[in-house]
Symmetry: C2
Subunit: 395 residues, 2 copies
């Protein structure tokens, strides 16, 4: 039997999703081939990946690091590129079938757009892309007739719950949330939270930025906006359900009251593998699957949007639309970075998002330049506040 090799580009290959993607490639060597890898600056990890997976193209976003890598792997027949130009070269590489967009931040938007333009299927692990540019991406996906597969346990669950169904009969998305490490606490109990506390997620091992976003529920807010684009649903049809065990990864309710849910152990490899091989399901290496008798119980709560009001702000930003989700996202990105450095408090994160949203003049249907300008303006605005000795307004 001749097996067709699927050729993958992995953008953000040394991050959490990137390395798990490569684990899957390692487990399916007969069917998957990595043709390009891209990273921000971690050339030590990248070098190991290059030596194992032998792509013929790699991009290191930071030019000086790219030069160092070039020197280190000059024994290999690999082209090394850098900067946004290099990233776009990877995203549009002629021999690739699918681009896994696993970089963090809005830097993912342009490569994703160009990959779609080049007819590549997209395994989307970069939330910012749809949150800020959904109105550009979704029509382009349709026009270019490529597949857009979400690599996120929640969106993958929704995708599976919609599979084989008439999407017009879906009445509600029930997006589950673990509630993060501070579930149940009230505002005054969150004032003195430090980064090291917030980095302890109860169920998932993930990158730092997304772990903080899970603690603030901002991540859930981004997911709500992303789901609205991906599944063409209004924000009011997307309901967040707190489910601390993270076993039900999300659900879809239909007009007849029937609810379809996807369940599994909290493991990102499942949605990554699902996206790569869709529509085929491949056996998962190791693991014994869900044992319901051992699980004993699954619980549910309403999200506390007064305490975790980043989620409320996300709904607000999504409803306003246009450039507002970009403001929400950029303000959060900046604030989380400052929080991780210990420069601002936990509650300053939603407070800064709120301030940034208040001062913003919305641009309807922003083009890519508008989006990137809005991002920069938001960074500048939030930096201005924090540098002038910002005091949390809500604690």
């Amino acid at each position: 039997m001749v097996t067709y090799m699927k050729r993958l580009v992995v953008l953000g290959s040394t991050g959490s999703i990137g390395t798990q993607t490569l684990e899957i490639v390692r487990e399916h060597k007969e069917e998957l081939k990595v043709t390009a890898l891209a990273v921000d600056s971690n050339i030590e990890a990248l070098e190991r990946q290059v030596r194992e997976f032998l792509p013929n193209l790699v991009c290191v976003y930071r030019e000086e690091k790219a030069k160092q890598l070039k020197d280190r792997i000059k024994d290999l027949p690999v082209k090394v590129v850098s900067g946004m130009e290099g990233l776009l070269e990877c995203a549009t590489q002629a021999e690739a079938d699918m681009v896994v967009t696993a970089m963090v931040g809005m830097i993912g938007i342009r490569p994703t757009i160009e990959a779609i333009n080049a007819g590549k299927n997209i395994a989307l692990a970069n939330k910012e892309t749809l949150v800020t540019a959904g109105h550009i991406i979704m029509p382009l996906i349709k026009e270019k007739k490529v597949e857009l597969l979400p690599v996120d346990s929640e969106h993958c669950a929704i995708f599976q719950a919609l599979n084989g169904e008439d999407k017009k009969k879906a009445s509600k998305i029930l997006l589950t949330a673990s509630g993060g490490p501070f579930r149940g606490r009230k505002l005054h109990e969150l004032k003195d939270i430090l980064a090291k506390d917030a980095l302890k997620h109860p169920n998932w091992v993930m990158g730092q930025k997304i772990t903080i976003d899970s603690a603030t529920l901002v991540n859930k807010g981004l997911e709500v906006m992303e789901a609205a684009w991906l599944f063409d649903m209004s924000l009011d049809s997307i309901q967040v359900v707190v489910h601390p065990q993270s076993i039900i990864h999300s659900m879809v309710e239909y007009v007849d009251g029937s609810v379809l849910a996807q369940l599994g152990l909290p493991d990102m490899k499942l949605p990554i593998q699902y996206a790569i091989f869709y529509p085929e399901r491949k056996p998962m290496e190791k693991g014994e699957g869900l044992n319901f008798a051992r699980l004993k119980q699954l619980t549910f709560e309403e999200p506390d949007m007064d305490t975790f009001y980043g989620l409320k702000l996300a709904y607000e930003a999504g409803r306003i639309g246009g450039s507002m989700p970009t403001v929400f996202n950029a303000a959060n990105e900046w604030a989380v970075a400052e929080f991780l450095k210990g420069k601002i408090g936990f509650l300053d994160i939603p407070a800064l998002i709120s301030e940034a949203m208040k001062q913003h003049q919305v641009i309807q249907k922003p083009d890519l330049k508008d989006i990137l300008n809005t991002e920069q303006q938001t960074y500048d605005f939030v930096r201005g506040i924090t540098e002038s000795g910002y005091e949390p307004s809500t604690a």
Copy 2:
């Protein structure tokens, strides 16, 4: 817009499933038309149904009752028939599109076979059909290219969880069970159970026979055997999970560890409506759907097959196959009837099934005649035991 009318035959129209089927017809008058109704003997209820739904054919199985009905509705242009011949006339009625088989017991097998032979789609609410004659029905369904839609919350859930998926990638069916009113009790606590206790099902309002079967877990055993036929899975791939809230109606696990589940309030109207309109989902009248925050928790346990060993016997009967499931079913049918009359104890139900199975000489691939003979022989055997002053062997 011209809407195509779907024409239904309802066999067992005055029972629980039958009356709910007619409620759905009442709610979708523009799209559904009842063309034939059949009952055992309840002509009072049938007369009301005939006057409301105006079928042109009705069958009353008991001839003397059929005559009485004929007299009562002589003002209407309705043909009244009786006996098995009458039942078959309904099942094969030329103008019908779909036959809802909602009669209780093995009497449902022949009409189902003839309906399939006549090219009718089947909404199957009669468990005995597949349990005893799955090896006849399933190949016939394929040959005649008709649809077989399960009307049972569990099988409908599995059907939905498989929808749009590659069935070969399903590795396990997780069939949920409420556990019935005696969940958690041990053998010695079940000795003195009376029919009135066993008739109190915690979640579902159903007919008496199925309610007792739920209390003994024999119903779950029949469902396991039925699921094996419907979804072409081995009995060892079907696992019963006790889930007392009856919100998750069943699940399917795939080779990648992903589990798809269907959830809903315990209401038989959903699976009936789903079967009638499949593949289209229709909005459900009234009801506000699942509220997860209000549900709070879903719990899971392993079934206690030592106490509720009717379930264990079902697996055994299913694994042996041939005519053994008929013995299991017929012995249970007889025992439940005796229990409802107060003539035997609760624990005598599985004990009698076990005795009947022990004495049976299995017929491989029984034809319809073999099945009906086996049924009669089992009745005779079990009657013989109970009439000779049977003492429960296990209490």
